[in-house]
């Protein structure tokens, strides 16, 4: 499959800092993939997401989105292809009602009103928020707010969806429902998803993981490969998946465990088998 995003030797440092936040990074993201960019707080993953959307100017290197160079001249063309959902839903709402907020991006694109109403209704229906169209965003729960933020982005029909820790402020139930919704949206609109996260369970849902540490790409691979490197994850200030934690505890007790990565469900199945129990 072709690459939808290509970054070559990109570096960036904030004006009031001397060290690079991202340093000489190169990677490719394939069209239609779900890619998790994982790293601890301050590792440069959010800066990387902003660089892809042209929200900051790089010191060095180039990023191509759909084979177009991200540069000041075509920044609005690039942004049409990218939908961005931020961490704090409260700080990304512009509209005074849910429907107004979903329409904000479409208004910026000078879309005729009739078409806009159709798109807003469809997007709200897709995220199951139609009944809240006239509510104030402040009256919604965290999960509902992120659904509205997703509707605002999806209404603009982007090719790429960037989620900058979009589930980190939600309770487990809200998080799960947003992740489920994302899977549906991805399938329906053939989206390429870039999820910036330090949540390992969320990263496990991706097709590919990019591990970032101090602005450098330290590992890249499918979740099974990356997530079974427990020691490395701990070294990088990250959590270890639940299944791997159990595996590590068993290994400590000199028990033989499979070498491949096991998520919590597979671990439970394996334990049942090992204990000669039937479900």
């Amino acid at each position: 499959m072709t690459a939808i995003i290509r970054a070559t030797n990109i570096s960036y440092h904030y004006p009031d800092e001397t060290n690079d936040v991202i340093h000489n990074l190169s990677f490719e993201i394939k069209r239609g993939d779900w890619v998790a960019i994982v790293g601890h707080n301050g590792s440069g993953k959010s800066t990387l997401a902003r660089a892809i959307d042209g929200l900051l100017e790089l010191d060095q290197g180039e990023i191509f989105v759909n084979d177009q160079l991200v540069a000041q001249e075509n920044i609005w063309e690039i942004r049409k292809q990218i939908g961005f959902v931020f961490q704090n839903p409260d700080n990304q709402f512009v509209g005074a009602t849910v429907a107004d907020d979903v329409a904000f991006g479409l208004e910026n694109r000078h879309m005729p009103r009739n078409e806009m109403i159709e798109k807003v209704n469809e997007a709200l229906e897709m995220v199951e928020m139609s009944q809240f169209a006239e509510r104030e965003p402040a009256a919604l729960s965290g999960g509902q707010k992120q659904r509205v933020a997703l509707a605002g982005v999806v209404a603009m029909r982007p090719d790429i969806l960037i989620l900058d820790e979009a589930t980190s402020m939600l309770d487990p139930e809200g998080r799960e429902s947003i992740l489920k919704l994302l899977q549906q949206l991805r399938q329906r609109y053939h989206l390429t998803v870039i999820s910036i996260t330090h949540d390992i369970d969320e990263a496990a849902m991706a097709d590919e993981i990019l591990l970032i540490d101090d602005g450098r790409l330290v590992a890249k691979g499918v979740p099974n490969e990356i997530l079974m490197q427990g020691d490395r994850l701990i070294e990088l200030g990250l959590d270890v998946p639940y299944g791997e934690k159990i595996k590590r505890a068993l290994v400590k007790e000199d028990l033989q465990t499979p070498t491949e990565y096991m998520d919590s469900n597979r671990m439970v199945d394996w334990l049942w088998q090992k204990l000669n129990l039937t479900k």
Binding site: R50, D53, L55, W76, R79, K80, I82, F84, F86, N88, D90, N91, Q92, F93, V94, G95, A96, T97, A99, D100, A103, F104, G105, L106, E107, N108, R109, H110, M111, P112, R113, M116, I117, V120, E136, P137, A138, A139, G152, V153, M156
Partner: protein, 266 residues
């Protein structure tokens, strides 16, 4: 504690006044406030008061909501009325002490000022009780549109107004959280001298401002990411519609003006 703030006082009763176009309501409220100053005798004030009362009853909103609008301003009204009564001259002098004089004209002017305040507050309360803040913002934008020709950034002003309205509940919530955090550490906001109470507000304002600036920064980034590059050429999702009833309301106001002009000469 923040439930009684001005914004969000909208009370939906679906009365005829609620159904009017916000542009009509905003323009007519302003117009009415201006013509109040043309009333010059008790008959004209009585006429305007009857009209205002009819409008108030027409909103089908409980009268206590209007009293809530007057209550916070009652001391300013009384202070102005008393000043007017003590320092106006003309007509029969009832009482005199040093620089203070209570005269016939002073009493009449004091009464007029009291009526003006009351009518202005009641009519602006009608506007805020019957129109959601968002629609008031839309009406402001629509009525200011001609100013685009003399390069007034009308769209930006309207967006600022709409964002400000949108952030009122968020910032109130934030203030409540900051106050609770400080209460938990022993700050007492409700007692002590006025000076002490004012001083206790400073530790709320500083974190509130820092958080508001951070929010503004993040919001600007989010707006840019969603393709916002100034108001020019943006289409509008929310459209205001002018109906026959809005024209009728304007005609009614014209009739009120004509009657007022008539009763001025009594």
């Amino acid at each position: 504690m923040f439930s009684k703030v001005l914004f969000g006082r909208y009370v939906p009763t679906n009365s005829r006044i609620h159904q009017l176009d916000p542009r009509a309501k905003l323009a007519l409220s302003f117009y009415f406030i201006i013509i109040i100053f043309f009333a010059n005798n008790w008959i004209s004030y009585a006429f305007l008061a009857v009209f205002t009362l009819a409008v108030i009853l027409g909103t089908r909103v409980k009268l206590s909501f209007f009293w809530d609008g007057i209550k916070p301003l009652i001391w300013i009204i009384l202070f102005t009325v008393v000043l007017q009564m003590l320092f106006s001259s003309g007509g029969h002098t009832y009482w005199h002490w040093g620089i203070f004089t209570v005269t016939q004209f002073g009493l009449i002017n004091g009464g007029y000022i009291f009526c003006r305040f009351l009518l202005i507050i009641c009519m602006s309360t009608v506007l805020t009780l019957t129109t959601p803040p968002l629609l008031i913002a839309d009406a402001v934008e629509s009525l200011m549109k001609p100013l685009v020709k003399i390069k007034v950034p009308v769209y930006e002003i309207a967006l600022m107004l709409s964002i400000a309205l949108r952030f009122v509940p968020t910032l109130l919530d934030e203030t409540q959280k900051i106050m609770n955090a400080q209460r938990a550490r022993g700050v007492d906001f409700g007692s002590g001298s006025i000076w002490k109470r004012i001083k206790s507000v400073v530790p709320i304002l500083i974190p509130l401002f820092i958080s508001a600036f951070n929010r503004a920064d993040e919001l600007a980034t989010a707006m840019e990411a969603r393709g916002y590059r100034g108001g020019e050429g943006r289409t509008k999702y929310r459209m205001l519609k002018w109906h026959r009833q809005d024209t009728l309301a304007c005609i009614l106001m014209l009739v009120v003006t004509i009657i007022l002009a008539g009763v001025r000469h009594y």
